[in-house]
């Protein structure tokens, strides 16, 4: 069980950033957190992994209220991992494979096991060729994949991805989408934050919309994305698949793959 109940969060006692947030993270994976710049997505993520402590309300994980002692957090974080927005802030070593192994060595895991897990992660992210490379010669997108690899190797049940596609080119973005879909198909519970509406529509099943620290909307694809005005109010827009549905009268496709398939088979729904 992973739940958030009536939670308020601030970086200091004077200013509250998130107001009265309630989330039920157990069902409908993957979950998308939508919000404009500064709406509090990253703050929410920091709170969800126990790095920020709520001033009111609580987080419930596995039937228990999340405790903030070192021991409890340690156990909790072996279930819930997070990939931060900025790759440079989470890479410490010079060589890619050393950095990816860092957390595992901190846990005292045997070297053979580490090698095995690295192999799996590097294959999944398609960065086997970067293994021995020096970090500062990598591109932004490559660094982002390294950052994801270093969390994947922890084999946590939950993975939180803060803006996984921000700053990526179209090819990098679609590769990232592919990676996230692989993670999902392997049974990981993924929570994504982004303001890339098309991406979120394509991948996620359930959505929470943040506006200035308030939860203003939640629900499934159909419930959330047809609310044009609320989305605009939150400084967001509708995904293009929803736009062509509402403005051109095309059927509402569930994701881009379904759309492509329909178009390829002659678009029998058109008109």
């Amino acid at each position: 069980m992973f739940k958030v109940e009536k939670m308020c969060v601030g970086y200091d006692s004077q200013e509250e950033i998130l107001h009265n947030i309630t989330l039920d993270l157990d069902n409908h994976h993957p979950i998308g957190i939508l919000g404009a710049n500064g709406s509090g997505k990253s703050t929410l993520f920091l709170t969800l992994v126990g790095l920020l402590k709520p001033s009111k309300g609580k987080i419930i994980f596995g039937d228990k209220k999340l405790g903030y002692s070192k021991k409890e957090l340690f156990r909790f974080r072996q279930k819930v991992g997070i990939v931060f927005q900025e790759p440079d802030q989470q890479i410490f070593y010079t060589i890619v494979e050393d950095d990816v192994a860092f957390a595992l060595r901190n846990l005292g895991i045997a070297e053979e096991e580490i090698a095995k897990r690295l192999d799996v992660a590097f294959d999944l992210l398609d960065i086997q060729h970067l293994r021995k490379k020096t970090i500062q010669y990598l591109s932004y997108g490559q660094k982002k994949r390294v950052a994801i690899a270093s969390v994947l190797v922890l084999e946590t049940e939950w993975i939180l991805l803060d803006e996984p596609t921000a700053g990526l080119d179209p090819a990098g973005r679609s590769h990232m989408i592919h990676i996230i879909k692989r993670l999902i198909s392997e049974g990981k519970k993924v929570i994504l934050s982004s303001h890339d509406m098309d991406l979120m529509y394509d991948i996620c099943q359930y959505f929470y919309v943040l506006k200035e620290g308030n939860l203003i909307l939640e629900g499934t694809k159909q419930q959330v994305f047809l609310e044009k005005n609320l989305l605009l109010d939150a400084k967001l827009e509708q995904p293009w698949l929803v736009k062509i549905h509402q403005q051109l009268g095309l059927p509402l496709y569930q994701d881009e793959a379904e759309f492509s398939k329909q178009v390829a088979t002659g678009g029998k729904h058109y008109g």
Partner: protein, 226 residues
């Protein structure tokens, strides 16, 4: 970016075992220390050719590298051969100032020679070493030498973060240039002060974010080295 490191990665010697390169470096250094100026000069010429060939650099670039520390070597050379004494018996050329003699010391000349060649020779060895051993191999060598791991950790972290710092400095500097921050001496002082301030604040901010992400990686106080 450190071009020297990039050159090292593309060196023809990059696949030679770092231990061999380390030992070769040591042996060359000893030769340079012990040899006569003739041996030192010959070795220097050979090393220069080897460096230029294996590292794929132009001769001009190599000469520039050697010229860079040359002023320091020359200054020490000059201070050694000049001396002030009471008599002019040992001096090759001299002028007398207030009853003292100032001039070229004959006895110090061989010493200055050998020092000069020794310094240049050791420089050549070090250049060859640093353009053929990339940083990760350097770390490996340090480990093989049984240096304390704290020292290696710090070296590694410095190497990682110096680039971030350089990049950040360049970004701020460029942004200031585009806004005419360095037009006059006065604005230059002002901009430079601002640059330092922003750099400090940003470093602090980055530090805080890194602490957060270290926490998520179960940081125990040290960086394990494999």
């Amino acid at each position: 970016m450190l071009s020297i490191d990039r050159i090292a990665y593309q060196s023809k010697l990059v696949n030679v075992a770092p231990e061999i390169k380390g030992i070769a470096y040591l042996v060359l250094l000893i030769l340079m220390f012990q040899g006569t100026p003739l041996i030192q000069a010959t070795l220097f010429a050979i090393l220069a050719v080897v460096t230029i060939y294996t590292a794929n650099i132009t001769i001009k670039r190599y000469v520039k590298w050697i010229l860079l520390p040359l002023p320091f070597i020359l200054i020490s050379f000059i201070t050694i051969i000049f001396s002030v004494t009471d008599t002019d018996t040992n001096l090759l050329v001299s002028v007398s100032v207030f009853g003292k003699y100032m001039g070229l010391n004959q006895e110090a000349l061989p010493m200055a020679y050998s020092l000069f060649f020794r310094a240049i020779g050791c420089l050549a060895c070090t250049f060859l070493f640093s353009v053929s051993v990339p940083f990760n191999q350097m770390l490996l060598l340090l480990k093989k030498c049984r240096l304390p791991s704290v020292l290696i950790e710090i070296t590694m972290l410095m190497y990682r973060f110096i680039f971030i710092l350089i990049e950040e400095t360049a970004n701020i500097y460029h942004a200031q240039q585009m806004r005419y921050g360095f037009r006059t001496l006065k604005t230059s002082y002002h901009s430079f002060g601002l640059l330092l301030k922003v750099l400090f604040v940003q470093s602090f901010d980055r530090y805080e974010k890194m602490v957060v992400s270290l926490e998520m990686k179960y940081f125990q106080g040290d960086f394990p080295l494999h």
